[in-house]
C-alpha cells in the first residue's frame, strides 16, 4: 500500500535557526496537510494545501511557518526562526480529495523536532 514518507525522522535544531521538514505524499493525492503533536497532547492542525496554495490554516500557522510544493512530489514545512515551543512531532498527511464524501487522510510517521 502506498505510504506518505517523511524525512528526517528526528531533527535537532538550535533555537532561532530555520528548519525544513520534508514529506512525500501519496502520488495521486491532491490535498496535503501538516499537523503537529506536542508530547502527550492532541494532534493539532496546522495547514492544508491544494493546487499550489494554502486552502486552510490554523492560528498556530503564523508568519514563522510556510509550506511549499517545490517539485510536484515533495511537500515541505519551513519554520523560519524556531522557538523552544516548536518542539513537537510534525505529521504530514495527504488525501485523494476533500469532498463531502470524505476521504480519509493518510499520515506519515512524523518528524520529531527538538529545539535546543
Amino acid at each position: 500500500e502506498p505510504e506518505v514518507t517523511q524525512t528526517p525522522s528526528h531533527q535537532v535544531t538550535q533555537m532561532g535557526q530555520e528548519v525544513i521538514l520534508r514529506c512525500v505524499p501519496i502520488s495521486n493525492h491532491l490535498y496535503f496537510y501538516w499537523y503537529r503533536q506536542i508530547l502527550g497532547q492532541k494532534v493539532e492542525f496546522l495547514v492544508s494545501f491544494y493546487n499550489n496554495e494554502i486552502s486552510e490554516k490554523s492560528e498556530i500557522f503564523d508568519d514563522q511557518f510556510s509550506v511549499e510544493r517545490p517539485d510536484g512530489s515533495n511537500f515541505t514545512l519551513k519554520i523560519r526562526s524556531t522557538k523552544l515551543e516548536d518542539s513537537a512531532m510534525y505529521f504530514c498527511a495527504s488525501s485523494l480529495s476533500r469532498d463531502r464524501v470524505s476521504q480519509p487522510q493518510h499520515f506519515g510517521d512524523g518528524t520529531r523536532l527538538s529545539i535546543l
Partner: protein, 116 residues
C-alpha cells in the same frame, strides 16, 4: 464550530475481553466521524469512518464503531481485545455542513492498554 471529546485518557482491558473507547462530538450539521490508531513512533493510521447509512461501521483489525445521533457519540469497539491492540486511539469529526471547514478536529486521544 466542531469539537470532539474523548473522556478517558486511558482504557485498560484484559486480553480476550471486549473493549470500548468512547468518543462524543459536537457539530452544527451532520457529522463525518473517524477513528485513527497511533502506534509508538508511528503516524496515525485510519481505522474506520462514518459518513452516512448504517450506524454500525466496521473497520480494520476487527474494530467497529457505532454512531448514535441522539447521544452524539461514536464509540469504538472490539469484541475480543488483543495485546497488539495496545496503542493510542484518536477520534475525529468533520462537519458536513456546506461552507464548513474541510479539516477534521481530533480528540486528545485515548491510550488503550491490553493486558495479557
Amino acid at each position: 464550530a466542531q469539537s470532539v471529546a474523548q473522556p478517558e485518557d486511558q482504557v485498560n482491558v484484559a486480553e480476550g475481553n471486549p473493549l470500548t473507547v468512547k468518543c462524543t462530538y459536537s457539530v452544527s450539521g451532520n457529522p463525518y466521524l473517524f477513528w485513527y490508531v497511533q502506534y509508538p513512533n508511528r503516524g496515525l493510521q485510519f481505522l474506520l469512518k462514518y459518513i452516512t447509512g448504517d450506524n454500525l461501521v466496521k473497520g480494520s483489525y476487527g474494530f467497529e464503531a457505532e454512531f448514535n445521533k441522539s447521544q452524539t457519540s461514536f464509540h469504538l469497539k472490539k469484541p475480543s481485545a488483543l495485546v497488539s491492540d495496545s496503542a493510542l486511539y484518536f477520534c475525529a469529526v468533520r462537519d458536513s455542513k456546506s461552507g464548513g471547514s474541510y479539516i477534521p478536529t481530533f480528540g486528545r486521544g485515548t491510550s488503550l492498554i491490553v493486558h495479557p
